[in-house]
Amino acid sequence: MLFFSRSKILMILGAVFIGLLLAIPNALPEKAREAMPGPFQRTINLGLDLQGGAHMLLEVDLSSILDQALINERTAINDAFRRAEDRPRTEFVRADNGSILARMRTKEDADKAMPLLENLSQPVDPTQLNSPKTTRVTRESDKNIRVTITDQNIEFIRKQTIEKSIGVLGRRIDPNGNLELILAPEGDKRILLQVPGAQNIDEIKERINKSANLSFHLVNEKDSTNERAMSVAMETGRVDASDKYFPFAASNGQLGGLIVVKRTRITGDCLKDSSGGPHPTGPGAVVNFSFNVACATEFGRMTARNINKRFAVILDGEIITAPNIRSAITGGSGYIEGGFTLESARDLSLLLNAGALPAKLTIVEERTVDPSLGADSIRAGKVASGIGLLGVAIFMWLSYGLRFGTIANLALSTNIILIAAALSLFGSTLTLPGIAGIILTIGMAVDANVLIFERIREETYNGKTPINAIETGYKRSMAPILDANITTLIAAITLYFVGSGPVRGFAVTLAIGIVMSVFTAVIFARLLTATWLRGKRPKTLPI
């Protein structure tokens, strides 16, 4: 137990030395840090509760996405029936209990429909071999056919929705890419968003809440001439089939709304670029836009055919403007006016450039900490750990005397340094509970040394020689130290896997602290004791 080979000594001291090097950057100013070699530039990652920032959990409204998938499927089925040469006759095709139910007139119609429906079922992911199909077609009876969206397809849609939402959010909140955002899927339907040091939380929330679904529609002029014509159109049911009523946005200034043609190919996906700028002829501001080639052609055709009619620009269910078409717009670019200020025009173009969110997002959890509060917590943590450290150190000296007290305290300080080193190296995040974990570790770290020293004391009391007592003391303490620390480690690991957010930070520091305290108390302190013993060869132990 007390013999250390030269290579072992080198390894132990080497580990401590490297730990020291890894920990030092945390105490250096930024300038000096940059001069250090790569791995030694890393510092401890501060959690949002310490550096300030916003932590948000966003829930993606997946049910609306799945509803939409069902509606699309129904449209596809109707289209397939209509386009078929030998058209099968239907009683109805409707959504029913999360799937589509098609009831055909006769058994023969159903026989004809089956291959058409099976044809609609495509591989979920065309880039993969043996990819599962998008839908499952089952014949429930002679006339009833049920089309179910497969679980694999739902899963694919879910993943895509989350992925796309994350992409859009990143472009919206951090268009220049310098905020060090964290955006990650969390569980099945949530997205974790962390914005360090965020100052303008309200603006960020605004950008999350807007879907930014943009589309250009022709106005149904016949039904939209006045309010009365519109209510007639709505009452007679004409609106439900191909048209839809949309209200004007508050910023537009006009009251009421318009009935527009639902079908359009000009949507937010057409945008190549947009920007906010001053109005070219009047006061206020506009959003300039340019379309990609396909949409530019389409838009040119649409405007050429409908001169002197209006088209409505609809954003998130509201008409922001509905200008008159004076001539065909063929260049694929133009501007949208609609009572914008320069700021609101720029905000909108930012959202449009980032793309529309595929589903509505709800903030289900928010924890925002101001940087000043974070700084307070760090300061309080430093003071508390300083005092805790000092108190424990004095206590160890009082309990075990200068010699062994010093050994224990050297082990304790090495422990703190190694924790800092490990946190820097692994890039794990230090949170406020994490600081609590370190302070707790300070108190508990000496436990291993206390165990060993108590045992040595006991062996000395039983009449063993110093070397013998120390030897047996270390040997006999190994099992309880390992058992005790492994069980605590189990608790820490459980905490990490089940806990969330700041609690995880606590689990990490606690676990690192446990591992480091065993190393420093059992190996490093033993090396110190052995070195002292070899140098002094004491007749009695000052313990």
Binding site: E365, Y400, K475, I486, L510
Partner: protein, 330 residues
């Protein structure tokens, strides 16, 4: 060189008859557990928004805040269930401009009783905005230092996760000790841990200190700490069972507890030192956590001596079966 040593004051071989008072301790523990369960079912816990859902903001009003004015302003806006609580800033706190904060800060809690489902969760954000804008109008400018909004769905999950994590930790520990010792030790340790957890919940019910996620972390740490203590004693018991083959079991247990007594006291004291520093200086965010831990050190130490060890007697630990250790006797 002359060395002073504090703990030399303690006798080197104390023989405190811990095991003899095991019936009194058992009665005390059972009473405490019943009281805790009674408190938990009648008074309940003061759950934080982590578990109930809701909104809490901490604001700096740049002067000592007028609790009554803020409360009235909130009621005026229709937030009838709002709570208003002045809190002391942590040691050396600075405000957003770097000036020291010498006055109290204000913590405002909003509960939306009727919020259900996703619609309601959006409403929570809207209510937060309404509250801060309305307050600004009524009491003048203030600075928001901290915002926490937890939706009801999330809080439900956090509650489930919290209970699960404690249960899972206990189960895994049971497995480990079973593997390392005998089954009686495993059961004894887990009983002792459950005892600590129940008593901790009891104390939180009694004091009505806010019970939130960090308290779950504290409870798990208490589990770890108490276990640490128990395992040390158990290890000594296992060793002594081999050493004193002739002595009756209660006496062997008592010797083991006494052998490890000075270590138990020393480690508890150093841990307490660090925790008290944290409690006094850590600011309001860590008060609950450090309180729970301080309590845990006491209750964990008590349970290792008075619950975990006597339980081995009750569970009829067999001599001779305890050769699980790997070290030969010297």
């Amino acid at each position: 060189m002359k060395d002073i040593s504090l703990v030399r004051i303690l006798p080197q071989e104390p023989r405190v008859p811990f095991i003899n008072v095991r019936m009194i301790a058992a009665a005390f523990s059972v009473l405490a557990i019943i009281a805790s369960i009674f408190l938990f079912t009648t008074k309940g816990l003061n759950y934080g928004i982590d578990f109930t859902g809701g909104t809490v903001i901490e604001i700096n009003t740049n002067e000592d805040p007028d609790d009554e004015a803020i409360r009235n302003a909130l009621i005026d806006m229709g937030f009838n269930g709002a709570t208003v609580q002045g809190i002391q800033p942590p040691v050396g706190a600075l405000d957003q401009e770097g000036n020291p904060i010498t006055h109290r800060l204000m913590r405002i809690g909003l509960q939306l009783a009727d919020e259900t489902g996703e619609e309601g969760q959006g409403a929570q954000q809207a209510a937060l905005k309404r509250a801060t804008d309305g307050l600004e109008e009524r009491i003048g400018e203030f600075y928001i230092r901290n915002t926490e909004v937890v939706g009801s769905q999330v809080s439900g999950e956090l509650r489930r996760k919290g209970i699960m994590s404690v249960a899972l930790a206990l189960l895994m520990v049971l497995g480990y000790i079973w593997f390392r010792f005998e089954w009686q030790f495993g059961l004894g340790a887990v009983f002792a841990l459950a005892h600590d957890v129940i008593l901790t919940i009891g104390v939180f019910s009694l004091t009505q200190i806010e019970f939130n996620l960090t308290i779950i972390a504290a409870i798990l740490t208490i589990v770890g700490y108490s276990l640490n203590d128990t395992v040390i004693v158990y290890d000594r018991i296992r060793e002594n069972l081999r050493k004193f083959k002739k002595k009756p079991l209660p006496e062997v247990l008592n010797i083991a507890i006494n052998d490890t007594l000075s270590r138990t006291i020393l480690t508890s004291l150093t841990t307490l030192l660090a925790l008290v520093a944290l409690y006094v200086l850590g600011g309001s965010a860590l008060k609950g956590f450090s309180f729970a831990m301080i309590w845990g050190v006491f209750v964990g130490t008590y349970s290792s001596i008075f619950v975990a060890s006597p339980l081995l007697l009750a569970l009829k630990l067999k001599r001779g079966a305890n050769t699980g250790g790997e070290r030969a006797e010297v």
